[in-house]
Symmetry: C2
């Protein structure tokens, strides 16, 4: 009997880290695919996957699980080009940061191939295989947007895979709810970070920054191609969140300008209590 296989298409930060982290998962062979020669060479030299290859077409027909770790438009294109090459009964997932457009793109697949949208809430401000590391997903959330007809077997597989990656939990939602939520938890964080870095004082402030500045601006050094796609493919949701943020900033501006310490204290108490109630746990908290 042939060995089961997981094919990861795209060995960047996320795909590369996933390849590293999935080695040894059950009895699956982990096959890494990329079109870039330097990436393939790096992947081979560092044993990023059990097997490395340049041609997706030769390995996805045998894959029990195909993980598309490309940029969003690349995923949609790949699904369209390879719609007839996936193994019957197999599962295809993506791992990018938007879901509505991806689930729409996955409609080109034949009924015999299952597709589940996947978004591991993990990343760094770096991209490329040279920054991949197997601990990337530890403590992070994994979000799934299954189809109504996705099988329990496939959902179970992703639960076990998430546990093996070290994710703290797995959530399921709809693509639309995912995109609305991610506009708030992730996309607007990047818009804030780049906007803070557009300040004329950016360079002169060096030496005056602490962990709050580093924490807020870290992600400004983003992958421009990737984030242009993520923002462009989720603009309405992002604009809604951005407008709400501007309203909340304006409310603080008005309170500050009002110069009434009692009112300012009340407003800060409200926000700080909300944050404490949320009580987020994550691998990257300072204390």
């Amino acid at each position: 009997m042939e060995r089961k296989s997981i094919v990861i298409v795209g060995l960047g930060l996320i795909g590369g880290s996933m390849a590293l982290a999935l080695q040894g998962f059950e009895d699956y062979e982990i096959v890494g695919v990329d079109v870039s020669q330097p990436t393939l060479r790096f992947a081979s030299e560092h044993s990023v996957a059990d097997r490395i290859c340049a041609d997706a077409g030769t390995v996805i027909p045998e894959a029990d699980l195909t993980i598309l770790a490309l940029h969003p438009r690349g995923i949609v294109r790949f699904l369209s080009e390879h719609r007839d090459h996936f193994k019957t009964g197999s599962l295809v997932i993506d791992v990018c940061g938007i879901k509505t457009a991806i689930m729409e793109g996955a409609k080109v697949l034949p009924d015999s191939v299952d597709f589940i949208g996947c978004h591991p809430m993990a990343g760094t401000e770096f991209s490329g295989i040279e920054h991949a590391f197997r601990e990337l997903f530890q403590g992070s959330h994994l979000i799934l947007t299954p189809r109504p007809e996705s099988t329990q077997d496939h959902l179970d597989l992703l639960e076990r895979l998430a546990a093996y990656l070290g994710c703290q939990d797995v959530f399921r939602t709809t693509p639309e709810a995912h995109d609305a939520m991610i506009a708030y938890t992730s996309q607007i964080m990047h818009i804030i970070a780049v906007s803070v870095c557009d300040d004329p004082n950016l360079f002169s402030c060096k030496g005056f920054e602490g962990s709050s500045f580093r924490g807020c601006t870290r992600v400004a050094a983003l992958d421009v191609g990737l984030w242009t796609e993520l923002f462009s493919m989720n603009t309405p949701a992002l604009l809604e969140v951005l407008d709400r943020l501007m309203e909340n900033l304006t409310a603080y501006r008005d309170t500050l300008a009002g110069a009434d310490p009692q009112k300012l204290a009340e407003k800060l108490s409200y926000s700080a209590a909300r944050k404490r109630q949320m009580n987020l746990q994550g691998p990257d908290l300072l204390a």
Copy 2:
């Protein structure tokens, strides 16, 4: 000959961490002062300082260095109340987040007592002695706002003290420049964090957040009393920074709404390149 002493007034997160971190510094005895009985008990039980006491008046007349680790208005009040109790030739410093108002308050001191404003760029979102830890200052910047007449001996002492705390460097600036810069690097980060937490989706987004969200919102769980004072005592500088941020966010809003991926990519490239050029190193980066 009597042992030299450093008196730390206020054993909260910063004062407590400093007391812990300064034990063993040269031949100084580290004396911790607080007015709260639970804090004094905790400090004694955990050997936060070499000696703990409740009455500043009994120890500051002997102190070679007095560190005021109180809230800003508490510092100004303490300086006024104890103006005649400090040892002749000694140095008094504060460690709070604003400097103009503090340097102004320090003018009540007699000429025989030196005062240097101090701001260690370190902290967490927690307050109180139970969160103090000796590693808090490691890798952080220490900013000094000396008087023109501050002595070289006192500046040298603070350089050695910073090295002992593990600070990565020491900067000197004017109180006004400090406050303008800190409005950008620290205060606005807190206004952003609380504004993000005012979003109605805060609680429903749990499970969808990653390190960018945690990094940006961490400091929203702030000490309301402290930050009300810091914001209130630096409002004009803070409003200037906030207005610039709103302009930069609006520019991103316009570009996103314009739905031209090429223009968005150009704008993101500009901001991301600035962030990369800044290349901040700190103890809390993800990778």
